[in-house]
Amino acid sequence: MSATGIGATVRRKEDFRFITGQGQYTDDVVRPGETRAAFVRSPHASAKIKSVDAGAAKKMPGVVAVLTGFDLAKDKIGNLICGWMIHSKDGSPMKMAPHPALASGTVNHVGDAVAVVIGETLAQARDAAEKVKVDYEVLTAVVDPAKAQAAGAPQIHPDIAKNTIYQWHLGDAKATDAAFAAAKHVTKLDIVNNRLVPNAIEPRAALAEYDAGTDNLTLWNTSQNPHVARLVIAAFVGMAPEHKLRVIAPDVGGGFGSKIFIYPEEVVCLWASRKVKRPVKWTADRSESFLTDAHGRDHVTHAELALDANGKILALRAKTIANLGAYMSTFSSSVPTYLYGTLLSGQYDIPSIYCEVDAVYTNTAPVDAYRGAGRPEATFVVERLVEVAARQMGIEPTELRKRNFIKSFPHQTPVIMAYDAGDYLASLKKAVEAADVKGFAKRKREAVRHGKLRGLGYSTYIEACGIAPSQAVGSLGAGVGLWESAEVRVNPTGSVEVLTGCHAHGQGHETTFAQLVSERLGIPFENVSIVHGDTDKVQFGMGTYGSRSGAVGMSAIVKALDKVEAKAKKVAAFMLEAAESDIEFKDGKFTVAGTDKSAAFADVALNAYIAHKFTGAELEPGLKETSFYDPTNFTFPAGCHICEVEVDIETGKTEIVNWTAVDDFGTVINPMIVEGQVHGGIAQGVGQALLEGAVYSKEGQLVTGSMMDYTMPRAHDLPSFHVGLTETKSPSNPLGIKGCGEAGAIAAPAAVINAITDAIGTENLAMPATANAVWTALQGAKPRQAA
């Protein structure tokens, strides 16, 4: 391992510009003649738009244009779409309601945009937006996903009966029912996976510019996948042909999934910029972010686990209602299906699984992928069931897990996934030691003496990452392939630019990708630049989400580097006057086997470009190679998180006193970045478990619509984490990487709730487990005696 190669803790290159305020975010980009957009949004969750009167607004100072949903429809701008087809169990396709970028007929959630004001300044645009008069006929809203399908519930979209998008299922119902009938013990749980608001630090933004001379449109946006945004906006929305639309996603300040999707505001800015023939910029304020960023989670589930007398799991079944909000966001359909049902086997050898998912519309903001996307929901179901079953059967929770762990690989689960590698016992064992589980009973006794209840909770999670083999996801309904591309450009002086289709918005790709190149080419880390996020520079790519950049994106770079090395060897052979087969490459040096003749990488690069040592008939000049890499399987990061809590008996306040995480991410490129990802993930998972919850009133008003009512985790809510690693390499990509971006958020909620319920002695506790919720649960429970 070199000082800057694979496995080295290298400081992040990008942090200098971020922490010195020199990042270039969408809102920092300023174009000549730029105007500002302010959206007029519905204050009602469900209403008919009777009329929109823009007369007074148009007369306001500085107003360039006022455009409405009616104008958008007149210009035949296409609807936003959901790109993953799910079929119901009866074979019928999912029911996708039209989603115009500006509403003209009805509004379906608070925050649904009906008009946009383009002004010389933001203040002028906002003042004029107040003058747009929208006459609404208010309709009854439906907000609770569990009530959306009821007879007599308001129907949100015409022709979509019972607000039901699909009724999907996975697994063998008959075999599962038979296993339950034969079971000695059945554990049943009703689970609500609470709705979350993503809250990236940088709010969403869009800046669109139309060049009348070339008829080209450029969009700067806060996207995790600019190429997919361009594809959808060109092919489905019909804004411009793909080659006439450039999408640039510059520095992006956090995404967590919420910036994967194509949003109405981007479409509207593009459309408006062509109409007013000036650049149009929009940046969400925090209130708009709360109302219109795609939310996460929001499942209502009944789950059951069947076990034999020895605690061997026989079967699992789950029935889930997933709230997808008022419209189907870009990948919303896949989250509660193929990213959820397929992970219900957890780390366990479960013979039969059956899962049913009804996805419903409600008059709330759209719901889509959020850090973990479906896999936190699955882990919560599995890990709560296993922990509760262990308690009910009087088996130590780690022992019940050990009895059921998958121990040989590859392992085919009954829910599509084929796990390729792992060692679940190893991560459990290491975590149990690091968490000093042996000393827990003593700590619990001591806690009682100062009025605290101590609890220990486990989460042995699994996730499917490295998203994803294209053919596999295609067979499951995905509208796109999920390979990744890389282009490695070696400059004549030997420095290197890597163009990647991945997109960094906090992950540190500029560092880790450079580490890979530094190691492979034996050149200084400083001599490598990573280029991403611009459809004019990178030919195509699928972006960053689903912990895919390492496993898929870096694998594409490996493949391109293989080609670079092969070509460079040809150049070196001419330079060193040797046979190509005799050229060896190591530590940045080309040598002729068995001789002392050598050429440095930079010399070979220069010779590739000056092309003096070979003729055009012998070799093409230049040193630049491209690769498209499609993985052969998902990757399966897994591990064990142990949370230890103290609950104040008087107030119900939970304090996390110890957190141990032992994760198997396969090959680790930069341990410091991986640890950072684990920390951030746990913080988000703890946020879900203890603090966060998006709440709509029954009329459809978002009552947790600001930081006053929606609680994000802060430093004082978290302990110092004990983080460790085990390693089994993924056999499904050349580097053996599994991915680490989502693990913490997937593992954490179950660990926290398992710990609190252990402490308070009742399983009847919903997330977020606020002090009030825990105190209330405590009133109905008799705490377990100190062990």
């Binding site: 204050p43 009602h44 009133s697 008003q701 009552v703 009512d709």
Partner: protein, 149 residues
């Protein structure tokens, strides 16, 4: 977002006098906090403009006020809805009951209100507090008017 508030206020006047003042547009205009206009369209319908400021949101609400369930001198129901533009909307009503007590009148009220849009997105504690203050101010002003005769 729905809110419920209840309260009572003792007034030194007969129920007939109190009831008449509750139906007097000029009195109501003087008592409603931030009221800029209140015009009678009919005996039971009024047109109102009021400015409200809650935290960072200041809005001019325009709307209609209806008087229903008229039961002189025992009470009535006053309800209305206002449109505050981008700030959102507010609608609701108050059941007002008048009973004789201690030689005067005890006025009790039950307010049910709903707000939406940007207003509802403000901190709940902020909105509930502000709404309670508006109701309190109204009945304080009203009591002062009745006391002044």
């Amino acid at each position: 977002m729905a809110m419920v508030m209840t309260g009572e206020v003792q007034l030194p006047a007969s129920r007939e006098v109190v009831y008449a003042k509750l139906n007097d547009a000029e009195v109501l205009k003087a008592c409603i906090p931030g009221c800029e206009e209140l015009n009678k369209i009919s005996d039971t319908e009024l047109q109102a403009v009021a400015v409200t400021k809650i935290g960072p949101v200041k809005a001019r609400f325009k709307g209609k006020v209806h008087l229903t369930d008229l039961d002189p001198p025992n009470g009535y129901k006053i309800s209305g809805e206002g449109d505050g533009g981008v700030a959102g909307f507010a609608k609701g009503g108050a059941t007002v009951a008048l009973t004789e007590k201690d030689g005067g009148t005890l006025l009790t009220y039950n307010v049910e209100a709903q707000i939406g849009g940007k207003l509802a997105q403000l901190g709940q504690r902020l909105v509930n507090g502000a709404a309670k203050k508006i109701a309190d101010d109204f009945f304080k002003n009203f009591a002062a008017t009745v006391t002044a005769g």
